[in-house]
Structure formats: structure tokens, C-alpha cells
Amino acid sequence: MKKFDIVWKTFLFLLLCFVSVAGIAFPIVENPVHWYQYPIIRGLEENAKIIFFHVPTAWLTVVAFLMSTIYSIKYLRKKNLDDDAKSYAAAQLGIIFCILATVTGSIWSKFAWGAYWSWDPRQTSIFALLLIYGAWFALRSSIESEEKRATLSAVYSIIAFVTVPFFIFIMPRIMIGLHPGAEDVVNGKLVQSASPVIDFKMNGNMLLVFFLSLAAFTILYFWMWNLSYKSLIYKDRIQKQITRG
């Protein structure tokens, strides 16, 4: 078990190193010949390299939110405070990745669109997620009793979760998007894309690095989440032992 731990941690370290180097250092050229060259994506050009870091953070924001909600539902069913700790740990990581995604996105948009913030549907969605996370933590900090806090925050996170599809799926269709992948070319005309998943039109090696980066960040997230919820549970147990005497 210990040996396996060392193996996957080393593997993760190497993977993250490779992704960072490949994401930043590989050149973008017009006609890629070598395996380490990326093609030019129309409308993105040199700015395209943000894909390797910005998209995983946005992805993890959503994953963390989903996990937080799943453990909230689990808590409401079983009333086990460990599930609340898991949900809380997921949300803590979620807000970190949410802030990272917002900041990297808005820095990128300064160069690509000319302004830090322009209320693109996806910017609006991530802003709403940030607000939900903020409100959730505000609610948690206002309640003293453990069970009550767990129940009420679980209920709130489920209610907030059911509004998320509106942002992710419906808003981009209503508002005009600037975000890459927001428009499709149908019969030679530009139309708003209906798909929530962005098609970047990457080539093979770029896709490979992209998915490696996504996998590496996801493993990192689960590792951090594991450490975080265990420490929360231990802290809780020690506190209870101290109060018992």
C-alpha cells in the first residue's frame, strides 16, 4: 500500500511537470510537422495555451460543486457528519479553483477581447458560481450547532445546484457569447453554438496534452480533497475528545 502511494505520487509529479512544460514551452506554428508543435486555432492564436490550465480549473470548479452537492444529499439521507465534512472539503477546494478560473480567464480576456470583464455568458456563469460558493460559506459561518449547520447548508447547496443548469446550458443560448467555442459555423454562417461543451478544433498532440492536463489536475484535486476531509474529521474528533475530558 505504501509502495503504491509513492508510485502514483511520483507519477502525478512527473505528469504535472510534463503538462506545465508542454503547455507553456511548445511552440504554436502554422503547419505543425513535429509532434511538439501546436496548430493555430482561428481566433485564439498564441493565446491558445491557456487551454491547458484554465479549462482544468473551470472543470474542477464544477466537479467540486457536484461532489459537494452529492455529499449533501448523502448527509440528508444518512445524517452522518462525515459526509458533511466531505461536502465542506469539496466546496473549499471548489472556491479556490473557481477563483483561479475567474482570474486566469479574465487576464486572458484582457488580451483576447480587450477587457478584463465583459459579461460573456460563461463569465456570468462563473461569477454566479462564485456567488453561490460565497453565500454557502456565509451561511455555514452563521450557524453554531453542527447538525443544524450541516442540514441547512446541505439544503442550500442542493437548491443552488438545481439553478446551475440555467447558467451552464441556457444562458449561453440567450446571451451573445464571446467565449471560444461559443459560435458554430453552419452552412458558412456563424451561429450561436447550442452545445455546452466547447469544441476547440485542436489537433491530436494538443488534445493529448489537454487531456493529460485535465487528468493530472483531477487526480491532484482528489488527493487534496482526500487530505482535506480527513483532517476535518480528525479535527472534529479531537475537539470532541477534549470537550469530553
Binding site: A128, L131, K148, V155, Y156, F166, R173
Partner: protein, 221 residues
């Protein structure tokens, strides 16, 4: 169950008539909010789109000032335990929702009348579309604010947390309503804004279902 819920609604209605706390504070809040906007505009001519947005700003903050009363008053008076004894959670929620619905409709009709009288740029071309938008978003507003009010009443700090918790939940509703209102002012037909109307209907249904499912957990201590 229905008659019990209606009895609860009548109880709230009567006690509201006796004190007129929510109605008075709501009325004053509406006047204050609209006059602040009027003062800040002064003699300027504001564009039509902006009035539609400001209309929903007034509605949102008025709702936030008055709608938490439904559950907070029960906690303040210490009557929530009695309510738990005599009625099932869904009955209580139905009663409170009815009360808030009536309150939201009265409040928003007053806001709409005052608003169209005081703002010259606020002209609705497609009145029926506006009416449908108005009714659908009022229902959504009442449902969401009732369930958040229930959460708030069980949490410690009541006043400041309410708008903070409600805003992200109400954001899809407000964004769509603002869009629809500006569409009404341009005179768009029903067909062109059918997606937005569908979003509103979905929002109402989803929030109503989620509220009824989750209210049990909030209400039982």
C-alpha cells in the same frame, strides 16, 4: 391538507392585517427605492433599456426587505414548535407560500403602476407578453424567497444573510426577466421570446419541486 394550508394562510393574513408590519415596511421601501432612483436621475433622460433593468432592481430589493417575515416571525414569536405539532411540513410550506405569493403580487403590481406613472421611458409595447413575464417571474420570486426565508429563520443572523443567499438563486430569474422586459419594450412577439418564457416556466417548476422536497429537512429540528 388543503383546508389546513388555507387556514394557515388566513392566520398569517389576519395577523398581518392586525400589525401591518410587512405591508407598511414594504410600501415604504418601494417609495424610498423609487425616489432614490428618481433623485439620482434628476433631469437626465435615461435610455429605455435601463428602466427595464431598474424595474427589476426595485422588485428584487423590495422582495428582500419584506418576504423573510413569513418564517422569521414564527421563530421570533416562538410559535414554530406549535406549528410543527399541528401541521405537516408541506402544509406549512403551502400556507406560507400562499401568503408570500399574495404579498409579491400586491407589491409588484404597486411597483409596476408607480413605475409606469413616474418613468416616461418605461413604455411597454407588447402588454400581454409583459403580463405573462410578470406573472411567471412573480411566482418564481415567491417560491425561491419562501424557501430561503425558511433557511434563514433557522440560521442565526437573519437580516443581512437573506439577500446574500437569495441573489445567486434568483439570478437566472432576474436575468431572464430583464431580457423579457426589454423585449416587451421593443415590442417583440410571443414566438420570438418563447425560449425565455420556457426558461421562466422551467425555473418555477424546478424551484417549486425542490422546495417541497427539501422543506421537510429544514422544518424538522
Amino acid at each position: 391538507m388543503k383546508s389546513k394550508a388555507f387556514a394557515l394562510f388566513l392566520k398569517d393574513f389576519r395577523s398581518e392585517l392586525r400589525t401591518r408590519y410587512a405591508v407598511n415596511s414594504l410600501a415604504m421601501f418601494i417609495i424610498v427605492a423609487i425616489s432614490v432612483i428618481l433623485f439620482s436621475i434628476g433631469q437626465e433622460k435615461i435610455p429605455q433599456n435601463l428602466t427595464g433593468g431598474l424595474f427589476w432592481v426595485v422588485i428584487f430589493f423590495s422582495a428582500m426587505s419584506g418576504l423573510a417575515r413569513a418564517f422569521v416571525s414564527e421563530e421570533e414569536r416562538g410559535t414554530s414548535l406549535t406549528l410543527q405539532l399541528i401541521a405537516s411540513p408541506s402544509t406549512v410550506f403551502t400556507g406560507k407560500l400562499l401568503f408570500n405569493l399574495i404579498l409579491v403580487f400586491i407589491m409588484n403590481i404597486i411597483i409596476a403602476l408607480l413605475y409606469s406613472a413616474l418613468f416616461e421611458a418605461f413604455v411597454i409595447l407588447n402588454f400581454y407578453l409583459f403580463l405573462v413575464t410578470f406573472i411567471l417571474s412573480n411566482i418564481g420570486l415567491a417560491v425561491s424567497s419562501t424557501i430561503i426565508a425558511a433557511i434563514i429563520s433557522k440560521a442565526g443572523s437573519k437580516g443581512t444573510l437573506y439577500p446574500v443567499l437569495s441573489f445567486p438563486i434568483l439570478l437566472p430569474l432576474i436575468l431572464t426577466s430583464v431580457q423579457l422586459t426589454s423585449a416587451c419594450m421593443v415590442g417583440t412577439t410571443f414566438g420570438e421570446s418563447s425560449i425565455n418564457l420556457a426558461v421562466l416556466v422551467c425555473y418555477d417548476v424546478i424551484m417549486l419541486t425542490a422546495s417541497y422536497m427539501l422543506f421537510d429537512f429544514i422544518w424538522k429540528d
